[in-house]
Assembly symmetry: C2
Homo-oligomer: 210 residues x 2
């Protein structure tokens, strides 16, 4: 029985919450190892060190636990990102910071990546939630005259797919800051920034905040 984000947050609570958290953590880990579809409920309970039937005391089916896990991880990632983004005014820098920090978080917790990537594809609400942040920064960039694009839902899809591919590559081949930097540059190019300004935004946006 491994340990994870959900158990951390259920530490002081009653047994019910702790078992639930163990199942959520196990689900995240199993999905990361075997993929969304291949993850069986019995894999999850085994990974959590619990009996098969225990699952049904807490969740009705695989979809529910995965939705809940994805939502919980998404919330945590958003919380961390929000903290790091506070006070950044320039939209280009915001996009670079959000992208590079988002990727960095998922490289620290690679198990989260599979769940979040999968849920972005499969869950309707998750995708919209993630897009709200992104859309805000893109519109800000247009208003600031930094980006030269029309902010459509297809544009959001394209930016998201670039971020997703950067995550997938690093998940496969190991964390690689050059890939992150490259994808930031690609995104800014996509948004219509001139190369020189893009490079500058990347330098300031990727600097690790002390």
């Amino acid at each position: 029985m491994r340990h994870g984000h959900f158990q951390d947050h259920a530490a002081g609570q009653g047994k019910r919450e702790r078992t639930r958290a163990a199942l959520l953590d196990a689900a995240v880990h199993v999905v990361a190892e075997k993929g969304l579809e291949a993850a069986k409920i019995s894999d999850i309970t085994t990974a959590a060190g619990l009996a098969n039937g225990t699952f049904y005391n807490h969740f009705t089916d695989k979809d529910q636990i995965l939705r809940e896990a994805a939502y919980g991880l998404g919330l945590e990632v958003a919380r961390q990102l929000d903290a790091e983004m506070a006070g950044i005014e320039d939209a280009a820098r915001r996009v670079v910071t959000a992208t590079s920090r988002f990727i960095a978080i998922l490289m620290i917790e690679p198990d989260w990546a599979a769940v979040l990537l999968g849920s972005a594809d499969h869950l309707p609400g998750m995708r919209e939630e993630m897009f709200r942040y992104l859309r805000g920064d893109l519109e800000r960039g247009v208003a600031q005259g930094r980006f030269n694009v029309e902010v459509t839902s297809f544009l959001l899809d394209q930016v998201a797919s670039l971020i997703a591919v950067a995550i997938r590559v690093q998940l496969q081949a190991g964390a690689d800051p050059a890939v992150t930097q490259q994808v930031c540059e690609s995104i800014l190019r996509l948004l219509g920034m001139p190369p020189a300004k893009a490079r500058k935004a990347i330098e300031s946006g990727m600097r690790v905040p002390s």
Copy 2:
């Protein structure tokens, strides 16, 4: 029992080849309807109007038939694209033509899209095959001074992910030339073309060849 690409090509042949082709066409259709994982062997035989056991006279498992179907469709798409690309010298125009015609073909045969997108993710060789064409055109563009990028495997991943997202959006919402045009522009931006030249390349590359 519907009709499809593989049956067209097995028309004059023996029963063995015709049944095989019916199974391949059925597999493509079922995968398009239910997705790679959800497609059952019994769905495929039912769609082909054959008994369940017949499947095993021709293929050993689902993976094999899907690999074969993807390869066959990939070959056909490559054949069509090759014909349309012959004689186009300018790399930017080649990229625009390849992208827009590729998408156009998959909008005419939407069932093919699911199989090709799925196989690009899952099959190692398929992806490489597709990338060979793309890499050639990108390197040509760099040599011609039209593109301002380093041609890495990650760059190919990024371009492919943009094309994939354009296909997915149009598969969902219906064919939309504006989306295709938009993704061509995005790709050229990614490759470092200035906006004015990009627009010009799109105009000449997307003109429908009489």
